[in-house]
Symmetry: C2
């Protein structure tokens, strides 16, 4: 019997229909040898030594004395070559007949997580990965000073079916002059839940999930890795701090280390169980003005199924893997670097 | 300069960023010979003569005297073999700790549009395609008597990247016991617009689009085919009746003929300009209780780009083809069957 589940926060429904459920290996690519990627690709704009193939860098962790746009860096940030938004423009909206439009003002950066083409999050040394997370923090910190930006979303596209056009390990950052619908609905849901239950929904979720255990993949001192009850798609995961923190850039370094380690562990578990699946992850940090109530979290969405006409036309996800089953497989995984 | 555009009804924003815009042929598949499909495929459950490969049919247009689940049909409806929802169950929601869930009750049918494996909407005779549309009407009519169902969504997935798992021409129908978020937001947007402007937003859109012309692909006596101002993705199209009609199953046959012809024409234009692109279309007909205010419409969403981390995390679409450009290419197309 399929099940309809309500998201505790947004109150949106998903359908859990396991009739065509597959065991994890059925999701695996047809023939699954993972190509060994080289450390350097001469045509790759993100590889060490190819710095001139990108727009001029806006930030980097680099050895003292090395010049921008030259080797010596270990994490590097450049503007997106094909930006979705432009850094300058008129912030005011205007009318065009019955319609409203505005200049597409915002920030669109690429965070190159490593100089090495093959140092994926799964393969990266803990320290290299932590440095990438530190750059997330630094960019959020810097961009929080741009008063035009209300939301900064950091996300990662891994694999072609997750929208990645370049293989070299990187994340992206988009700064928006508004709070987009997904975050708006999340915030409204949090406000609604708090006014009804006098506590943050994530507090309730943590308490419940730790008691039940069935959707928990791993708990660390300060974080929970779990498969959300109303996951829209197979093997969705969330990383949630056990205590509220609003802004990712204000997370203390001890917590950041633990976060980086747990995120890397989560990606390794998915890699092991689903054989290097395409995925996106999205880091949700407090939009400007919501610092009091926001509880940062990260959502990992493996791209194992395709949203088709039903999902596009309804906004309702059909998930063929129960989150409890996903959690069980992922708990049992032996992540290896 | 990228542009932010507001959807007139939902008020949600999209980003039109044509920096990496492509001409239509750049979207085309790498090597584009369209396989000639055979008329019959022995393993295809939807082909004539293979009726026993599907669950027992629930409806069909068939020659008098022919038995269900035997040849003699020209449009056939069967339950989805892997249904997202089950026909029977408890309609009440229940609690599970902090969460809410319910039996996944609903209807999930497959509408086999033709007995011939290769009779795609683009290739179909006008009469065959009209018969498929008549079956849409009949199923909506029949299911409107099931008082548990609040929404019936008919949609079509064409091509693997649009979620189609079977090649044989077919649509699907899902009956839901609730009004899903996409429709809810549409209806709320209509109500908001009407209370502000004292008219239906589609009336304003039709008037404006016909005057401007730049987003119009084709106008017929009773319908408009156009590229919506705030299209979320390249080459999105909408088919809209010029006068309000709430329910697709109550569309008079003269209108239905014109609708079928225009929809087929739209799909042929996309086929010609984008070389047989994957696409979804979704038919939005009045949910139960909204017959007074609903204005039916159909949305065609070619799947030329992939929603990645930004779109998943924000709910904002990035469209690299201006709707005005898409309309221009599609107006100029010479649709051929």
């Amino acid at each position: 019997m399929p099940e309809i589940r309500w998201d505790l926060i947004t109150e949106e429904r998903v359908i859990i229909a396991t009739e065509r459920s597959r065991r994890p290996h059925d999701f695996k690519k047809a023939d699954a040898p993972v190509d060994p990627k080289p450390k350097f690709v001469s045509s790759c704009p993100f590889c060490l030594g190819n710095e001139t193939l990108t727009p001029p860098e806006v930030d980097a962790f680099r050895e003292a004395g090395t010049a921008p746009d030259s080797p010596g860096w270990w994490v590097r940030v450049v503007p997106n070559k094909f930006p979705a938004l432009a850094p300058e423009g008129d912030l005011n909206s205007r009318e065009s007949g019955i319609y409203t439009l505005a200049d597409g003002v915002g920030v669109h950066e690429v965070l190159i997580e490593t100089p090495k083409h093959n140092e994926t999050p799964v393969a990266a040394s803990p320290n290299q990965w932590l440095e990438a997370m530190r750059m997330y923090q630094r960019r959020l910190q810097v961009l929080s000073r741009d008063e035009r930006l209300k939301t900064v979303l950091i996300f990662r596209n891994e694999g072609k079916s997750a929208g990645a056009s370049l293989e070299h390990p990187h994340s992206q950052l988009v700064g928006l002059t508004f709070v987009p619908p997904v975050l708006q609905r999340h915030i409204e849901g949090v406000q609604r839940y708090r006014s009804r239950h006098s506590r943050h929904p994530f507090e309730a979720i943590i308490e419940h999930e730790l008691r039940e255990g069935v959707r928990v993949v791993r708990q660390t001192e300060r974080f929970l890795l779990y498969a959300p009850f109303a996951s829209r798609a197979p093997y969705e995961l969330a990383v949630l701090p056990l205590e509220p923190i609003a802004r990712f850039d204000q997370m203390p370094d001890e917590s950041l280390k633990e976060f980086a380690e747990l995120l890397q562990d989560a990606l390794r578990r998915l890699y092991a169980v689903l054989n290097d699946p395409p995925y996106n992850y999205m880091l949700f940090t407090a939009p400007c003005g919501y610092e009091e109530e926001f509880w940062l979290h990260l959502r990992i969405a493996p791209r194992l199924s395709i949203d088709a006409g039903f999902e596009l036309g309804s906004g309702v996800g059909i998930n063929i893997t129960a989150p409890e089953d996903a959690a069980q497989y992922l708990r049992g995984a032996t992540p290896s670097s």
